[in-house]
Subunit: 315 residues, 2 copies
């Protein structure tokens, strides 16, 4: 941390980079670091790969969308990026900078920076940035606290995922003490969905298939279904949560027919290790979350194959 | 708090009572107090008015459902109850007890006990019980911590509602330090819904009406719709959140045709004061949440009346 702070102090001009498809943690961390640098008298710019999600508009005011700019910054700060590939086109900034600072919480981080601060026990990169403020002795303004709260709340699913630690809660407590409207921040993150996405999810809910007394529940979606609501399949990445949140579900699966392929996501609510199921089809993952691409003609055939393998585990 | 602790120490036999339709906060607080009493060598029984929700089954193992029992306990501890009416039939225990202890966080509490500890700044009664443990100097076991975590997580919507304070977060941090599976507790509370409820909600989602460019969004449900899924209207109390969570919604309304009446719930996401709207129809509430019963023949007529009043506020 000390080395990172020294490197930041050497900066004359800095570019701050969230990962591609930037989420609340990446963008919130970037916005907080930009304000910290500004407090230290250092000019900086945040470049995102794409236009950020609508719900993060209060942060994205501070964010430029990368347009091929050939600017050169002496310092490049990558936040919440596990490796250089996560910078996409903006990797060029890292290549041209005198020093690259890599601050992240992903276990798989490749330590690609000249200075690396990687803490896999942190629930969010925002939690590490809050530590950075502490270590520098910088005071948190209300807007900085709001950025960091958004970062942490986003990556912890409102402090509910298993990555949330007592330290996460205490960090959030400090942020809340600045008087931020934390309830509104949480609402924007988790209770502010486009109507089209809710309509597609409602259609999928109405079409949940239950097997083995509800221990296995499956939904499926096709590119055509997404299109019907004016959506890309990318917009509805989390549909496996639809069967997952039904009580009694032990294994949830979402089958997507997209780009001519049959992709499956699995989640386990209980004892079942879904990485074993995904591996049967050449995929992988963790005990609680795994995925694979299935060699099937269509969703119906893919579903039959999944039911067979899951049944062997559940019965 | 001191007086309350003295009163608890005098108990030889205690009955612990959550409010009618007990929720996670009421039941979690009761279970934690029962264990605390047990640690102090005091026998106790928890009586609920009705069988608790399925999702709280790990707590309800400890809870008896009131069956008209005429037992007498010297000490009656009411938890999370704003007034004696919230005890329902079990009020008899309070009437017969030598001392009634009232611990609660509702602003409207009537101080009905012989000893009252009411802290309206606490997000949950569970937060007060955690203080009680501290004040008594009792160590929290993992099961006690899980009960209190459930209580607090439940009443704060996963630490996301505006009632959540820095103190709430720090209390939760302490509970988490005992090594509880907090993510599983949060999942049971918020991501474990009966399929029938999700199906009804999906039908309502598919039928959201948007007015004034989406600033006003309305859903409606009838007893017959609920019955179709084998549900009572009571089971789906929170349907106003369906239009509320769509982005762009400033006012959300849920119209229920139930028991021959047209009832409406309003929520505001923004500046609109929905209590003003509810008052137009003889109802009331707060700026962000209000309700009324409308004198209309049916949902269609009720909706027309609502749209007219809301339009005057939104346009």
């Amino acid at each position: 941390m000390k080395k990172i702070i020294e490197m930041i102090r050497m900066a004359k001009s800095a570019v701050i980079l969230p990962h591609v498809s930037a989420d609340g943690d990446a963008l919130g961390s970037c916005a907080a670091v930009a304000e910290l640098l500004s407090d230290m008298g250092i000019d900086s710019v945040i470049y995102a790969e794409e236009r950020p999600e609508q719900r993060l508009s209060f942060i994205s005011e501070k964010v430029k969308v990368y347009n091929g700019s050939e600017e050169v910054f002496d310092t490049c700060i990558a936040l919440d990026c596990g490796d250089l590939e996560r910078l996409g086109e903006r990797r060029i900034f890292a290549e041209k900078a005198e020093r690259v600072i890599n601050i992240d919480h992903h276990k798989t981080n490749t330590f690609f920076g000249d200075g690396n601060y990687v803490d896999a026990s942190a629930a969010a990169t925002g939690e590490i940035i809050a530590d950075l403020y502490d270590n520098i002795g910088a005071e948190l303004s209300r807007s900085e606290a709001l950025y960091l709260y958004t970062a942490i709340c986003s990556d912890t699913g409102r402090f509910a995922y298993s990555n949330t630690t007592p330290k996460t809660m205490r960090t959030a407590a400090k942020l809340m003490e600045t008087g931020i409207d934390h309830a509104e921040a949480a609402r924007l993150l988790f209770d502010s969905e486009p109507l089209e996405i809710e309509l597609l999810k409602a259609e999928l809910t109405g079409n949940i298939r239950s097997y083995f007394g509800g221990k296995l529940r499956i939904v499926s979606a096709t590119d055509a279904m997404a299109e019907k609501y004016g959506l890309d399949m990318e917009d509805v990445s989390d549909i496996v949560n639809i069967p997952r949140r039904i009580c009694g579900t032990e294994i949830a699966a979402a089958i997507k027919e997209t780009g001519g392929k049959i992709r499956v996501s699995f989640r386990s609510n209980g004892e079942a290790d879904v990485s074993v199921i995904a591996m049967e089809f050449g995929g992988g993952g963790h005990a609680k979350a795994a995925g694979c691409t299935i060699d099937a003609e269509n969703i119906t055939e893919g579903e039959e194959m999944i039911v067979k393998v899951c049944g062997a585990m559940l019965l």
